[in-house]
Amino acid sequence: MLDRSSSIRSWPAEGATRVPYWVYQDEDVYAEEQRRIFHGPTWSYLCLEAEIAEPQSFVTTFVGEMPVVVTRDAAGRLHAFENRCAHRGALICMQARGKAERFSCIYHNWTYDHAGNLLTVAFRKGIAGKGGMAPDAKPETQAPKQFRVEGIHGLVFGTLSPSAPSLQDYIGPEILPRLKRVLVKPLKVLGGYTQVLPNNWKLYMDNVKDTYHASLLHVFFTRFRINRLTQEGGVFVSKDGAHHCTYTKMVEDKGDAYEKDGMRSASSQAFKLESSEMLEQVDELGDGVSIQILSLFPGFVLHQIRNSLAARQVVPKGVARTELHWTLFGFADDDEAMTRRRLLQANLVGPAGYISMEDGAATGFVQRGVAASPERASVIEMGGDQVGSGDSRITETAVRGLWKAWRSHMAL
């Protein structure tokens, strides 16, 4: 249990503008998060519908630390259940993906349907009247937990909480239109990979929500004038602070605010791409937005970076380790030229991405930097102390939103 009387775990008096570093370090906090957040009244991203397009197909994934099987049954309905056999707790399904008529635990061959219901217990009645379970045995009491599952515009989410609102209500009216804006057609998976981050999962989430860092840390953006804070853009934050969306318009920035301030990310005249085809964007969504980053609490990110589209799933693997599961996609009706464009722009993202490789390093630097100072706190005062939407990205409003939501779930 969390010891809330301990001074080290009390929230700083400044409130929303401070985040104490123990939130990234404390084993008890981490365990509480699993229970209160990942198994609590939140919706977690599970996969793309396109990954389980066919009846009886499945993928395995995680919700927090919990291993999960996500399926489509023979009738086409989506399900998700804990990947843990009712008998001795072994993984029921060990493949990453595939098709199956039913799921059999390899350990003792107990079988499950696509919803995770226990179907059969091997030798339940014994053989020839000998062995087996008593007639009143109830192995079903230890059945794997089943999720409420909802699909939305090709994304599949699940929650273990009967009291969570519907997925649409959970996302809310500020962010839902920004999700729909990108996911306008059936999706096609282009591939995926995993980036292992040497830091707490929340450091990645507050990096994603930090609209202030993008053009300062990611120098590639600024050098090539892809994203500067002087370009038109803005940020949306859900009422509870949990979810956010930031966007930048396509107009090339001609200003020199970065050069005047002598910033590291300012442009040197000598530095130009020789081959700029990679950056050529087709305005496929028709609204002139070149970059949109959207996050849903606790661990989902949807990006549109030019014509690169991806789902990023944040999977905590301990206090100081996080896996980022990237799935890049296009639309099912993409022509050859659009697929080629998306693959060229894959260079911008992922572990080797021109504009995303630094995130893993920067968040790891925080984890290492704060090692000896759990009682200190980060300063989150850009844009004041409020949580809300606005037209400036020189703000940490969405970061404050993350902590507002987190504290509410954690009762801290």
Binding site: L190, G192, Y193, P198, V219, E274, E323
Partner: protein, 149 residues
């Protein structure tokens, strides 16, 4: 055969010695460099981790690593082995080789960073890669992949 192995060795030493500016010159003018994962290849999914078409794009990678991207000082040690060479036509061969890349951080922390296969098409007269596909065995990359494999 020996020349092919020597080409792979020169390539590996150039990267391990931080002579990144020489890296594009191991490719033909329109040469292709692609880092993929075995998983995506097996699923016939086209997503690259890195994809460069031609020396200009390779030079852009180097420029960006030198002047734009921020990453902790690190080095690689490539071990390349089990080279197989197969004739494609009079001008080119196909080569498959295993690789293992160890990453060494400035503080000495050393890890097995990547393993996989180089699947190459090599022009014999110029002794350059017309295509080098780096197929990583794992879908997992630790922190970031800055220096090319």
């Amino acid at each position: 055969m020996r020349e092919i192995e020597a080409l792979h060795a020169r390539y590996a030493h150039a990267l391990d010695d931080d002579r990144l500016e020489e890296w594009p010159n191991f490719f033909t003018e329109r040469g292709i460099y692609r880092i993929a994962t075995a998983e995506n290849e097996a699923r016939s999914l086209p997503l690259p981790v890195v994809y460069c078409e031609g020396r200009a794009m390779l030079r852009d990678r180097v420029q960006s690593l030198r002047h734009a991207n921020i990453y902790e000082p690190q080095r690689y040690r490539h071990i390349v082995s089990s080279v197989l060479v197969e004739k494609v036509d009079e001008e080119r061969v196909k080569s498959i080789a295993n690789f293992l890349v160890v990453r060494i951080m400035e503080n000495g922390e050393t890890m097995l960073f990547a393993t996989g296969r180089y699947v190459d098409r090599i022009l014999l007269k110029e002794m350059l890669y017309e295509e080098r596909v780096v197929i990583c065995d794992s879908r997992r990359f630790d922190t970031l992949l800055a220096i090319p494999l």
